[in-house]
């Protein structure tokens, strides 16, 4: 016997199978040759036919049992067991139909053996549904060939019984000539049959029971289900049916077939994150993190429609998850869990975090005119989103500094894709809507809604750095397209951060401040480790806005709307060469109006607008500016479930906005009117605001209540879902 170099040839393992084969074939042949002719003559020709068929069946099953792959598992690739090899436990539990089944690690094959799988030491393979290794067929009996083995046993039993019976008949008829050849041979055959009768019948009976119970030999012998429940049983009939009638299982040890070549070349499509990744910083109560939301674009698109109803409960979880995953920069757990509603938030979320001014500046984008800022300010109240484009120069590091901010990265696509979305977002269906029409209706001199749009959709939304901060809201960066537009209109492209609430002068003043702020920490409102609180140290300081995406949708919509309106107005104003104050005033008016119609969380926006107006008011020397803000702030104090998520009030608008009192007054009246019509919800604060608009003293009263301890520029705005944002005006 040749001994190949690689494989050891063990002849001994072939002895049983050879013996079995020899005995089987030989005996049967002898039977046919010596016994059957007489039987054919005497009894009938059906005898050899019957025996022939049975023998054929036996042979077929024997061959199948011997040569068929029992269901050998190929060895696992290295890549697959990389994790498992070193750190994996020996056993892994899996629950099957309520019963715990243990899967053992196979050191040879490098995987956890599937249930019912066992490693055959003779064959050195893991076999699926391992029954036993049969030496008589020199093969493992597993899933694929168990049926043939079982049928082999059955047919062999039948065959043996047949051969023995017919031989007996022959011998009984030839008793007197037992020494004759035929008789002797028949006797020998009968002996062989008789000899193996007991073991074979025993085995057959054993397997009949196993099949009925749905167990394998291995399981029976090792006592796996002794006293327990077999999770693999399908009932007696089901088990029998499974054994006999199930389709032939596939072979796993296949020849390496030629696989079609799949070309994989970058760049790759990303589901919701494209190359532009927007980081949104969500200010939280001290938890930071970067979350990349991976929402599919489609889901985001869907969100457009559903933006108004982000499911609240999951959001809460999301926030928690955010907290937990602060450090996961790559994968966002959010993305998995946050769901469709989040994209809406992304969409509508202008960036809050950064100082708008700064961003604009660095981005080289158009500086947001005060109007815009107003809009953004207003928007930011409710909106927490990443300002995608509005702050192109959002510097992530800066945001990162904000201890309270979480950075979310969301696909800018979401935001960008819908400039109009901001409008649609607007909750104030009625009033917010439309920007141009309504605005014009409200304020003839107001700018069109373009600014709003520019603030929101392309700009606000496409905040590359994605910090969600009121600042960004306040100063939504204008998208390049709109920026150009704005450029034309705005007279102060060179301005840095322009808070909507601040006059140009203020902007200038604030610029260094802002820069400083930005450098120091992220956006002023956002960056500084503000605790939830609303205190803004600087006028511009805004508390980090807790970005709760689900809270933002409505607010965001509203604010986006507002912003758009403001921008449009602003544009118009610029065209007309109006003074900034006018714009401011108008913007604030617009905002108010917009807010009025929106939900309560829009009140923040309204507040912001008030904030905008504040400078005007202040300019006028009235304290109403502050008062209303504070009052409105108080109004908007919604209990947000997430206490910690206080939106940073926009504080950019320093009170000292130089606005002509008269103009503002005029505007305010518009605003108040608008507000009144718009926001029944606002209720008290609203009225205060309105009053404020009209230079009433109501707000002051309210304001006093609110802001004793805080910066009187701080307004509280309630976002969607009860998140309260503080906007410092």
């Amino acid at each position: 016997m040749p001994n190949s170099a690689g494989k050891r040839f063990k002849p001994t393992k072939y002895i049983p199978v050879s013996t079995a084969a020899t005995l089987l074939v030989g005996s049967t042949t002898l039977f046919f040759v010596f016994t059957c002719p007489w039987l054919t003559k005497v009894i009938s020709p059906a005898v050899p036919l019957y025996n022939g068929l049975v023998f054929l069946f036996v042979l077929a099953n024997f061959s199948m049992a011997t040569f068929m792959d029992p269901g050998v598992y190929p060895r696992a690739d290295e890549d697959e067991d990389k994790d498992d090899d070193f750190r994996a436990p020996l056993y892994k539990n899996v629950e099957i139909k309520g019963i715990q089944v243990r899967m053992k690690w196979c050191a040879t094959c490098h995987f956890y053996r599937p249930p019912r799988c066992s490693h055959c030491s003779v064959c050195d393979n893991c076999v699926e549904d391992f029954d036993h290794h049969c030496p008589w067929v020199n093969n493992c009996i597993g899933r694929r060939n168990y049926r043939y083995f079982f049928l082999f046993l059955l047919s062999l039993s039948v065959h043996m019984v047949g051969v023995f019976s017919f031989g007996l008949i022959f011998v009984l008829h030839h008793r007197e000539r037992l020494g004759a050849l035929h008789t002797t041979v028949t006797l020998v055959v009968m002996c062989i049959a008789g000899l193996f009768f007991i073991p074979v019948m025993g085995l057959t009976g054993f397997h009949l029971v196993l099949v009925a119970r749905g167990r394998t030999t291995n399981e029976q012998v090792t006592g796996k289900f002794r006293g327990g429940v077999n999770p693999f049983t399908k009932g007696c009939c089901g088990n029998v049916e499974y054994v006999l009638c199930s389709p032939l299982a596939p072979r796993y040890m296949l020849d390496p077939r030629k696989k079609p070549h799949v070309k994989i070349q970058p760049p790759f499509i990303r589901p919701d994150l494209s190359d532009r990744q927007i980081t949104i910083k969500v200010s939280d109560n001290g938890i930071h993190g970067t979350i990349i939301s991976s929402k599919s674009k489609s889901s985001l698109d869907d969100l457009d429609d559903k933006e108004t109803q982000p499911p609240l409960p999951p959001k809460a979880d999301r926030y928690n998850q955010l907290k937990n995953q602060m450090t996961s920069s790559e994968e966002s757990s959010l993305s998995g869990k946050t769901h469709p509603s989040t994209p809406a938030m992304y969409k509508y979320r202008p960036s809050f975090g950064t100082m708008p001014k700064v961003h604009y500046h660095t981005a080289g984008e158009k500086i947001v005119m005060p109007d815009d800022r107003k809009t953004s300010a207003i928007l930011e109240e409710g909106v927490r989103g990443h300002d995608y484009r509005s702050e192109p120069n959002l510097d992530l590091p800066e945001y990162a500094n904000a201890p309270l901010h979480r950075t979310f990265q969301s696909s800018p696509l979401q935001l960008d894709s819908d400039p109009i979305n901001s409008r649609s977002l607007s909750l104030k269906q009625g009033h917010r809507r439309p920007e141009k029409g309504q605005l014009s209706a409200l304020q003839p001199q107001t700018v069109t809604s373009t600014p709003y749009k520019s603030v929101f959709s392309p700009n606000t939304l496409s905040n590359r750095n994605g910090s969600l901060s009121y600042d960004s809201l306040l100063n939504p960066s204008i998208s390049p397209s709109t920026a150009n537009e704005c450029m034309a209109h705005r007279g102060m492209p060179s301005m840095g951060f322009h808070s909507p609430y601040l006059p140009t002068k203020m902007c200038h003043i604030r610029e260094p401040e802002i820069q400083r702020q930005q450098v120091a920490s992220t956006y002023s409102p956002v960056m500084p480790p503000r605790s939830v609180g609303r205190q803004s140290p600087h006028p511009r300081d805004r508390d980090p806005s807790p970005v709760r995406y689900d809270n933002l949708s409505q607010t965001i919509m509203a604010s986006i709307q507002e912003r758009k309106e403001m921008e449009e107005r602003e544009k118009r104003q610029m065209l007309h060469g109006r003074s900034q104050t006018h714009i401011y005033a108008q913007d604030s008016g617009v905002f108010d109006g917009a807010y009025g119609g929106s939900r309560d969380n829009l009140m923040g926006v309204g507040l912001v607008s008030y904030g905008q107006r504040t400078p005007v008011l202040r300019h006028a020397g009235s304290t109403l500016g502050r008062a209303p803000r504070t009052s409105s702030t108080s109004l908007h104090t919604d209990h947000s479930p997430e206490g910690p998520y206080r939106s940073p009030a926009h504080q950019p608008h320093s009170p000292a906005m130089p606005r002509s009192p008269s103009y503002s007054h005029q505007k305010l009246s518009y605003i108040s009117a608008h507000e009144r019509t718009d926001s029944p919800r606002l209720g008290g604060p609203r009225e205060a605001m309105k009053v404020n608009g009209q230079m009433d003293c109501h707000p002051s009263a309210q304001g006093a209540t609110l802001s004793p301890s805080r910066h009187n520029n701080v307004k509280k705005v309630t976002g969607v879902g009860g998140t309260t944002y503080e906007i410092s005006v």
Partner: protein, 143 residues
Amino acid sequence: MAETHSLQDMRPQAAVAAKVFIQRDYTNGTVCQFQTKFPSELETRIDKQQFEETVRMLNNLYAEAEKLGSQSYIEGCLACLTAYTVFLCMETHYEKMLKKIAKYIQEQNDKIYAPRGLLLTDPIERGLRVIEVTIFEDRSLTR
């Protein structure tokens, strides 16, 4: 020598960044089902729904392959009667389904996964134990 390959072909394939293995779902016994749980490594690469749809489809195909129906009865009887010589000529139901599954995976790879830098490996190559998802390095991001 004339260059007959397109430049596209000549470009090297993207490098493999990671592999994710979708394990079998044994909650219903040894029926071939794969877990539809979305692995976190793929979160940035593909939609959750898309992926789950693929796995669900595969599960359905495998369930149909293993179904004990009339097809399997007829095949069994025929096989018995012909002493299993029919297996030399005819393809079993399971094998037909496997071909269908292979085609489905190929199509999914071409249409959905390859553009996203992913590659699904037919689980039959792994003994129907795992679906291997190869994540390719996205060089475009590193540029």
